[in-house]
């Protein structure tokens, strides 16, 4: 990698790369600080208890915020992350795909790689779907093969319909 620099680039070394990152970080902080600072200077200041509530225009929250959420929410969150990550991988692939596609022998590989990646993820989706994990109210699946799903302990997060 180190020896495959683009034409005209200067080898700044590892420290050089990190210096770039540092500059980037500093500029980021400066930009955000500048925007907030300028806003602070320009806007009128009128503090008001309503502004400090959790949902300014919504209901008043009651009780502790340390409640246990139903595990379903986490499942949905997990699915979301799976698809999210999938998209993140798709973007860089899509960017270089156009360049790589014409290269003989490589185009097909690049295409099928992504197909395989996507199909593995869809297999996962299919698996949880069939297993009933996408149902908001999970059913106990009766398997014809004589399963012992009924033996699953009662304290599990399972609700019969």
């Amino acid at each position: 990698m180190t020896n495959n620099l683009p034409v005209g680039a200067v080898d700044v070394g590892v420290t050089g790369h990190f210096a770039t990152v540092l500059v980037f970080v500093l500029v980021g902080f400066a930009f955000a600080g500048l925007a907030l600072g300028v806003a602070k200077l320009l806007r009128p200041s009128a503090p008001n208890p309503n502004k400090l509530t959790t949902y300014e225009c919504g209901e008043l929250p009651r009780g502790s915020s340390w409640v246990r959420f139903n595990v379903r929410f986490y499942l949905i969150a997990l699915f979301f992350i799976v698809f999210d990550v999938e998209i993140i991988f798709l973007f860089p692939w899509a960017v270089v795909f156009k360049q790589l596609y014409p290269v003989p022998g490589l185009g097909a590989v690049v295409f099928w790689e992504m197909v395989i990646f996507l199909s593995i993820l869809s297999l996962g989706l299919a698996y949880v779907w069939v297993k009933g994990d996408l149902d908001w109210v999970k059913k106990l699946i009766e398997r014809p093969g004589g399963t012992d799903q009924a033996a699953v302990p009662a304290d599990e997060e399972v609700t019969a319909p």
Partner: protein, 504 residues
């Protein structure tokens, strides 16, 4: 970005084949579980066994040659093949043990099989890794699946605790490892082992990066192999997880951890032996001593075996220490680097195999009983009179334990012999003495189980029923333990030839 390496050609496919078989097999098992409605309980386990066997067949049939492949990501050759066989073998045993339990207790857990296959896939990648990215990929694939396996008994508090504990601590250790890799990358400017080796050989640069990085990586690997002081999770997780998973973790995960630890130790040896050598010496001594001492007072056989597995990690670390020893101190000794390194590394490989055999034999028996006995099933005192009611199971466990204690003519003795021989060869006699004193201490707690099984009378609440497939499998392993204890040479020579392919 004008140059593109051709990532996949014919040789690459042949390198990838065993990984594809295991990974694809995992997906297949998963799908069959989900979609085939007429499935009997055993079918998934048969399918899993077929996948493992297929991967072995592929390994035997396809020889992709040696050296780094796939753009330097994986190391092909005997080294990876050796570990692939080992993992597939352990996988087969674990499948058999697990299946036996499902049949009996009625808690059918079909997701176990794909997870097992994915774990093995991760281990295979980890052992063959020739790039920091591949290391992390393999490690995480392995770990994520193992977290779920450890917590696999849904509704069992201890199993859930095991899975959770392993997950949280494992996450920490992965973070350390990743940070270490980042620092190492910062030093070398590359993630490929060969490139890193080149940079390390020239020396110079910001050595603080590589020192700190390697320390963090050592923590990460130390966690996986249960090295003191990163061992805290081990007893709880080994105790809480179902016995077949514990057996799997104690053998396969440990083997994978040592595979990569050896590779990294070899990689970093030119520049970091001075740091790793003293640190690992202390850790090795601590690991085996603490493991053995705490194992002395355990009443639960799984906890006892957990601490004993910590102790065995200590012996194995002794091998890594020996590997590093010629690179420090007297330059005259560096001439020994190759011979000492080879004997130490091949001793570690032999030890890993021997340890896997005897430990699986032990866990195979514990697994059957653990399942039959209710709440305190793993209490050692419940094994009273076992030799009368189940002579084969008791004899198998006895052979496994005697072998673990390092008593001839079992493989445990030969493994220790090769290991301590390498230690003494490197001139580290005090370490060898500490090692043998430790194995002496260990004799006591292994004997204790045998005492209970053979010399105490049956109590009223005994185990009943026999899961003969598991017991027969464990018995076959015990026979292998005996055979390799008497005729270890061919196998050790094979291990040595595997080592000779590695870069020193």
């Amino acid at each position: 970005m004008t140059h593109f390496e051709m990532p996949l050609d014919a040789t690459s496919w042949s390198v990838l084949l065993p990984y594809l078989v295991i990974g694809g097999g995992g997906l297949l098992v998963m799908l069959v579980d989900a979609f085939v409605r007429t499935l009997k309980k055993d079918h998934l386990s048969y399918l899993t066994l077929c996948v493992f066997l297929a991967s072995i067949v592929v390994q035997i049939a396809v020889h992709p040659g040696e050296g780094p492949r796939l753009g330097g990501m994986l190391l092909a050759g005997d080294w990876s093949r050796f570990f692939n066989y080992l993992f597939a073998g352990i996988g087969i045993m674990t499948t058999i043990f697990a299946t036996g339990i499902y049949d009996r207790d009625g808690r059918y857990r079909p997701e176990f099989y794909p997870l097992l296959l994915f774990t093995v896939l991760g281990m295979m990648v980890l052992a063959a890794a020739n790039d920091l990215l591949a290391v992390f990929l393999g490690l995480e694939t392995m770990s994520l699946a193992t977290y779920i396996l450890a917590g696999g008994v849904r509704g069992n508090v201890r199993s859930s605790e095991a899975g959770f504990k392993y997950l949280v601590l494992g996450g920490f250790s992965s973070a350390f490892l990743l940070m270490g890799m980042a620092l190492l990358y910062g030093y070398a400017g590359d993630t490929n082992f060969d490139a890193i080796a080149r940079v390390l050989a020239t020396g110079g640069g910001a050595t603080i990066l590589v020192t700190a990085g390697s320390a963090l990586m050592l923590m990460g690997f130390g966690f996986k192999v249960a090295m003191v002081p990163f061992h805290m999770w081990t007893p709880d997780v080994y105790d809480g997880a179902p016995a077949y998973v514990t057996g799997f973790m104690a053998t396969a995960v440990k083997a994978a951890g040592f595979a990569i630890l050896l590779r990294v130790a070899l990689l970093l040896q030119p520049q970091l032996a001075w740091a790793w050598y003293p640190v690992l010496t202390v850790f090795a001594v601590l690991t085996m001593s603490l493991g053995n001492l705490v194992a002395l007072v355990q009443n639960n056989i799984k906890r006892m075996l957990a601490w004993s597995s910590i102790a065995h990690a200590g012996y194995l670390l002794l091998g890594v220490v020996t590997l590093l020893s010629p690179a420090v101190g007297d330059p005259a000794r560096q001439a020994l680097a190759r011979t000492v390194g080879e004997s130490a590394a091949s001793a570690v490989l032999f030890y890993l195999v021997g340890y896997s055999l005897m430990n699986l034999a032990a866990f195979g028996v514990v697994n059957v009983l653990s399942n039959r006995g209710g709440e305190d099933a793993d209490d050692i005192n419940r094994y009273a009179g076992l030799s009368r009611r189940r002579p084969v199971a008791a004899a198998t466990l006895a052979v496994a334990l005697l072998s673990l204690a390092g008593i001839p003519p079992f493989v445990g003795f030969m493994a220790k012999f090769y290991l301590f021989a390498a230690v003494v060869k490197a001139g580290l006699v005090p370490l060898a003495v500490i090692g043998v004193i430790n194995s002496l201490v260990s004799v006591y707690y292994y004997l204790r189980v045998i005492v209970v099984m053979y010399m105490k009378d049956t109590e009223a609440d005994s185990y009943d029923g026999v899961e003969w497939v598991s017991v027969a499998t464990a018995g076959a392993l015990a026979a292998l333990v005996l055979y390799l204890g008497i005729r270890p040479d061919a196998f050790h020579a094979a291990a040595a030839s595997v080592i000779r392919q590695l870069p020193f």
